[in-house]
Symmetry: C2
Amino acid sequence: MSFNSSDFVPTPASIPPQGTVLRLGERKGLSPVNHHPLNPLDFLLRAAQVYPDKLALAHPDVVYPAFYSFAVWAQRVQNFAYGLIQNGICPGDRVAVIAPNSPLIADAHFAVLAARAILTPINTRLKPQEVAYILEHSGSLLVFIDHEYMHLIEGTNIPFIICNDTGRAGDPYESFLSNGRIFSQENGWQGLVLESDENSSCVLCYTSGTTGRPKGVITTLRGSYLAAIGNAFEGQMNRDSTYLWILPMFHAAGWTYPWANVFAFATQVTMRTVDFPRIWNHLLNSGVTHYCGAPTVQIGIVNDPMARKPPRPVTAIIAGAAPTPHLIAGLETKGIKPIHVYGLTYTLGPFTRNYEQPFWASLTLEQRAKYLARQGHAFATAQEVRVVQQSGEGAEGVKLTDVPRDGKTLGEIVTRGNIVMKEYFRDPAATEKAFTGGVFRSGDLAVMHPDGSIAIMDRSKDIIISGGENASSLAIEQELATHPHILEVSVVARKHPKWGERPMAFVTLHPRYAHVWSGRHREFSDDLKAHAKSRLPGFACPEWVDVVPELPKTSTGKILKTELRKIVGKL
Amino acid sequence: MSFNSSDFVPTPASIPPQGTVLRLGERKGLSPVNHHPLNPLDFLLRAAQVYPDKLALAHPDVVYPAFYSFAVWAQRVQNFAYGLIQNGICPGDRVAVIAPNSPLIADAHFAVLAARAILTPINTRLKPQEVAYILEHSGSLLVFIDHEYMHLIEGTNIPFIICNDTGRAGDPYESFLSNGRIFSQENGWQGLVLESDENSSCVLCYTSGTTGRPKGVITTLRGSYLAAIGNAFEGQMNRDSTYLWILPMFHAAGWTYPWANVFAFATQVTMRTVDFPRIWNHLLNSGVTHYCGAPTVQIGIVNDPMARKPPRPVTAIIAGAAPTPHLIAGLETKGIKPIHVYGLTYTLGPFTRNYEQPFWASLTLEQRAKYLARQGHAFATAQEVRVVQQSGEGAEGVKLTDVPRDGKTLGEIVTRGNIVMKEYFRDPAATEKAFTGGVFRSGDLAVMHPDGSIAIMDRSKDIIISGGENASSLAIEQELATHPHILEVSVVARKHPKWGERPMAFVTLHPRYAHVWSGRHREFSDDLKAHAKSRLPGFACPEWVDVVPELPKTSTGKILKTELRKIVGKL
């Protein structure tokens, strides 16, 4: 570990009483001897008991770096919880956080639970009116806001606490914590009531939908506990692990990694922004072993000039889209092992994983990438994943039939189980719709292969219907991405007088090859079309190819097809 | 993997239909979309979907070796479950198994759950009258019995199925499975109802108490699921792991490892007997990575003439007593990493773990062993462990006070949470007593160190009161065991006219040094007493030392202090 944490002194209120060992003893709100409500908060209390002095949270790349041990962190979380209660927050109330990856939002993932309230993390990349909508819809009673994002809540009537991200006395957030400590009267964890119902709400996340109003997704304590353990297990994390926060923690509660890391006693490193040289500094010098990110981010990582093999093996958890052979090769030559998972905010992050099979060892990279691109099977603490077609109408009449395992027949991915959301917040109609047929309806279209693994073909709306044939824009993208000069690609439908719709591809060139095609984008288009023809059926070959400097993306790094469709609509 | 499994052909009834991939689809008995009852049975269904062809269960050291993939194993378990239903077994009924480590008892850990019945594993080392008592007390309706143990149920009125442990057609157990398959009418897993209440009973284990009648301990599905995941996580198991069955599976449901291994997709190797050359054959040639065992077994392993460093790192999970510096050194020089855990049948096996601390790296082996001997902190899915003293009387008046963290004050280890037994079977009074004060009372005496780790001093009845001082027989044993010529040691109280009680030590000599003291046991006693004097307070030094050829042990390898006390009583 390269952190120079010796200069850092936590505020007096952050220092636990009587040395550093957390003592729990009797807890309020617990009754049967042999039944304990599942709650990810317990992970932190356990870590503070077993490894009180271990580095839990490092926030190094700022003017005022901060470093917290598990004991100190647990004390801060406790202060935070008392502060919430002091400010009138009651069980079930919503508490919003608007912050980049930093101690504030990491703290909130435990402290809000400790006050039995519901955490509402808000995407920092939204517009003020979207933030206002979420604050209103969630009914948040208190907002914790990072100083850099004050413009997002200008004019709000809701009380807020500013965090200057200093960890030093004088920071309003630190004063809040100190006041919480005073308010606690040193009653410690025994003075806080543990939520006795594990099916209580945990986090309220708003999906950054590409269309319409954001929707509030409520998760449960039980689901968060089980999903976090699943993630820690699937990543084979342990107390020697160091997790680098590249994925925004506000995105689907960081896929439950804020808790998974603590369950594993791992050290977490927070970075306010996605900055590739800084990422590489941590991969090379801070002992990082794990990080999560969408392929677009991973592409940026492997292509950074600082990229070289880190001293420790690194596991990269990839979701959001399938990794291309390019990307897999890029990661593996850097000693980074990709784990491809698939999930949604509604499933608390990952709920399937691509499980490596022994026979892959004898495959070429490109063959292996084809298997690795599949979304795979239900993961550790998830239940079965199915691909179904619906017949019948209305709530009573709906019948779901599993598609054949032929790797061809399209159906919708559905699942059920403990790591499915509790409900849409204040929207029973939407909840009912999402649960139609007694399963959670993902809206993603997939096939099931003979080995039982699933492979996403598209979101329903992303299917391109060309001459009556269903072309999967995702499948087309995957094939186009095998062209060695391509960095990223996105395919959408464009109206066609004869075929109804035809695929149009938007591509960015790999920086290493951009100069080759400089001023010759038309030739590149022809080259790519020829490449496509050798790999795809005619109806799936792109009719148009547009080389662009960059692709429009959501705040979480997903390519915004809605923006591309707007462009296409004007052509 | 060295198994020559290619000759083995499973019975036709063991082959799943339509290739090898398990399809679940809709399941009976499940209702909310976002709540799935925790059940370790699910681990096998998931393994059969993700790694259908991977070796799940190997039973190599017998006349008819057997090797089952996850797909085949899941089919056999399904047949077993249908067979139980065919034989009139209803949800909640008890099904007994009397078998050494072998596929039968591994199968039963899943199949009985799949029939929603309660598994009653019976210790094969009991006497026929004890077995008869357990069968009667449990109300078992059907017994699965290994052919070698028929004498244990002679004259029983309860229907039984004999298993000749062949895995071949003609074996009565195989006929039972085949009939179950026929009875299933190929309705598969969808034809079986999954238990919808995770707090339902899972296993009924009888404790092989050193005094009195065996007591039936009931665990829950939820507890078993969470304990198994905890064990898989603590052992850092994964699909590359191979677990060797040395611990009897009938002992506290194999500490939930029958399920933990499957959760991790690990291969399990069963051995009917504890045979050190065979253990070494597997450690050296079968890719074994994990096993569990009491220190007495571990001592046998490290002292076997075949002992050398295995090709893969091995993790040995040790419980039952603290490992001595001798043993730790013996294991580590063989590349075997010891994990010291502590648990009871009432806690589904391990519920604390000794967590290695970074500063140990700079300690001597003997210093490190002192830390490693502690029982440590609550483990992954357990809740807090406390050491308490009781004041007040009766159910109302009982008050539990945590002892100071001084490493000195004796108290009773208590815990609560998901991995505590449901109850004593048909014994509400005993349950109430065990849960007095709203916690599970372990009956083990311990201290809590300043770092919050616990260290067992003794069972209450094993404390020696010498001249008014409490001497921990365990602490004395640990100090005596540092004498390099000792293999095993046990200390009990012996009446003393002046001091009330004084410690008497029974020791066995290490084979390597036995000849040194041959005919000079009196001199060895003096040597050991001198050794004790340099390390223990006077009241804890053994007054008498008896060198014996071996120590009396329970069927599970625990030293039988009751037998030693009988000997002492006659002196």
